[in-house]
């Protein structure tokens, strides 16, 4: 077992860190304050290849692995959680299902633009009545000649209004399963600008405020029959598979947020003086920092393990990474919440102000315990595997 990163990954980390420090960090406070999507940063990331890291070169991507992608989200999130989730949702929730379940035509049509960042991707599963209970959804798709007709709405969609390509889930019928009638769910690729596809309200959020979170509304929205993603009726499996991968991205985001808060706290406690001494010289501070660093390190190992397990799946199409991804997300998200909360506490009154960025990081951290499967869902996934 080797815990050292390869030369490739070390170089990639250097790249992501330099980019984050120069291009992302200076805008992080403004992005949070204005709640504006950092379009210019996304264009710069597109130019640097960040929007297609694990996409094979044949589809215009960088041809790298999931570990490299996770490290990118981690380094971006160290300085700006918003920027981290833009890359994560685009890559894991839109590019990945098209790459995994798309036909050759769909891959050729959508992936080159997505991988180059000319287009941004999003994923629509959640509905007002269907969060953790994905079966509770109401959006319907009916085949009418050569077109599917979509009706319904999706909420809390990351990259919502800024995206161009959406992977959308809808009910395509009812099927009998173990003697009960259940909803048959299918996945579709929907393009922005399709008649009948509009946007509802923008969410006003606690954290990741620069990410564009919108309601998507489909009213007799007609899409080509060829835009069915994967087999009809396999939508639930596609959604679950996609979220397994997405959890690695969110785990990496949580990891970065925690690490970023730790870095700032280390710098702060060396400078801040009370009772004539730097507060870093007090044992309470030292013990808090030790706990924060230990948990961040443990989270990093878990995230990298989940990423390399998914890389193994990419090679053999057999290895399961579902549990690794759930554990990594559960642990990293709870670490991020704990570390950022401690970071605010160690910053004292200054930590509660928006000038010191740990306050934003604490707000950003909270969502990582909720989206792409709450911490409770991760515990369900992990325990179901233990008891099967």
């Amino acid at each position: 077992m080797d815990f050292t990163l390869s030369k490739k990954h070390e170089m990639a980390r250097t790249l992501f860190r330099e980019f984050a420090e120069k291009e992302v960090k200076p805008l992080a406070i403004e992005v949070d304050e204005t709640e504006e999507f950092p379009r210019v940063t996304v264009e710069k990331m597109a130019k640097a290849g960040f929007m297609g890291i694990p996409i094979p070169k044949e589809y215009g991507g960088q041809g790298c692995d999931i570990l490299t992608y996770a490290m990118c989200v981690e380094e971006l999130s160290k300085v700006c959680g918003t920027t981290g989730v833009i890359v994560s949702a685009h890559t894991s929730l839109c590019c990945d299902p098209i790459l995994t379940f798309g036909t050759e035509e769909q891959k050729q049509k959508y992936l080159p633009d997505l991988a180059a960042g000319r287009k941004i991707g999003a994923f629509g599963l959640t509905e007002p009545g269907a969060g953790t209970d994905a079966q509770g959804q109401q959006t319907k798709a009916v085949l009418d000649g050569e077109e599917w007709v979509l009706n319904g709405s999706k909420i809390f969609i990351t990259n919502g209004k800024e995206a161009d390509v959406y992977v959308i889930f809808a009910i395509t019928g009812m099927v009998e399963k173990r003697g009960r009638m259940t909803k048959e769910i299918s996945a579709f690729i929907v393009e922005k600008g399709t008649p009948g596809f509009t946007f509802g309200t923008k969410e006003k959020k606690m954290g990741i405020r620069g990410s564009s979170t919108y309601e998507l509304i489909f009213t007799d929205c007609r899409i080509p029959k060829a835009n069915l993603l994967g087999q009809q009726g396999k939508g639930f499996n596609i959604a679950m598979h996609t979220l397994d991968g997405g959890r690695i991205g969110i785990a990496a985001q949580a990891l970065g947020i925690g690490e970023g808060a730790l870095e700032r706290t280390i710098a702060y406690v060396k400078e801040r003086k009370q009772f004539g001494k730097a507060i870093g010289s007090f044992q309470n501070t030292q013990f808090q920092l030790a706990d924060m660093a230990t948990k961040a390190q443990a989270a990093q190992f878990m995230v990298y393990k989940a990423a390399t397990t998914k890389d193994q799946y990419t090679k053999d199409h057999k290895t399961s990474y579902s549990v690794e991804a759930a554990m990594a997300k559960l642990y990293a998200a709870e670490m991020a919440m704990e570390v950022t909360t401690k970071a605010v506490q160690l910053h004292g009154g200054y930590g509660y102000t928006r000038e010191y960025e740990v306050e934003r990081m604490m707000r950003d951290a909270k969502i990582t315990e909720i989206y792409e499967g709450t911490s409770e869902v991760q515990r369900m996934v992990i325990s179901a595997n233990l008891l099967k």
Binding site: M11, L15, K47
Partner: protein, 260 residues
């Protein structure tokens, strides 16, 4: 078009400067970066490649670990990397370095050679022009803009208060300023490819038309007696007077110190 870009791995001064007990730089103990002027030169070459199509070869002379800077250049888009490394080349000053690089470049076909103006560890600005002398080709230094016009280059050469526009037939050598451009980032895929790529390693035996007496420490007319870290200046003095009084005040100060 074939472009050769000379690059150097230099200490990253952000990480602090460290010295050996004898006063020379402890390069092994310092973080390293691609010399900023060289990076601008590489970016200029890559833009010419994007615009006109070109093969870009990066070359460096240094310790085996200087291979890292070649891989960085290749991750940005350079096509080939050549490392010139040999114990007998160690301790080279600008003369011996330019002799070495010219000896290596004689193996290559080129239309254009681009070097940085100067390296941040030596600040001499001599190696580029010296290479052109050894190879017998024209040099245009301090380039702030580069264009191709048929078989010639048109370059804006920077001065303090103006610039000259010069045209030279290729092959020629250009020294680039860091201000020439904002170098692109490496790409993740470029990094993966660069790490898998072969780096050509040359030693003394590969250098063409160079005398031993012009190489390494023995071939270096300049010897560094001592190097020291930058001494931090004080805060200075701020005065709040009108223009005439301020000028008088400064002139008096300079007179007292016998500067004027």
């Amino acid at each position: 078009m074939k472009i050769v870009v000379c690059i150097k791995q230099v200490p990253d001064t952000k990480g602090g400067v460290k010295f050996n007990p004898d006063g020379t730089l402890d390069r092994a103990a310092m973080m390293t970066i691609m010399n900023p002027d060289d990076k601008a030169g590489l970016e200029a070459a890559l833009r010419l490649k994007d615009q006109y199509g070109a093969e870009v070869t990066v070359i460096t002379m240094g310790l085996p670990k200087a291979e890292d800077v070649l891989r960085e250049a290749m991750a940005m888009g350079a096509d080939k990397g050549i490392l010139v490394t040999d114990r007998v080349l160690g301790g080279a000053d600008t003369w011996a370095t330019s002799q070495t690089l010219a000896g290596a470049i004689r193996n290559l076909e080129y239309d254009l050679i681009i070097t940085g103006r100067q390296a941040i560890d030596g600040d001499t600005a001599q190696v580029g022009p010296q290479i052109s002398e050894h190879l017998g080709i024209p040099v245009i230094s301090y380039a702030q803009k580069i264009e191709i016009d048929g078989d010639s280059v048109i370059v804006e050469r920077q001065y303090d208060d103006r610039y000259h526009v010069l045209k030279a037939k290729m092959p020629c050598l250009i020294t680039a300023l860091a201000e020439l451009n904002a170098p692109r980032y490496m790409t993740p895929g470029g990094i993966f490819d660069a790490c898998d790529a072969e780096i050509t390693v040359w030693g003394r035996a590969n250098l063409v038309d160079v005398e031993d007496s012009n190489l390494g420490l023995k071939g270096s007319p300049t010897q560094i007696a001592k190097a020291s870290d930058k001494v931090r200046k004080g805060q200075g003095e701020k005065i709040n007077k009108d223009v005439t009084e301020s000028v008088d005040y400064i002139v008096d100060k300079l007179k007292v110190r016998h500067v004027i």
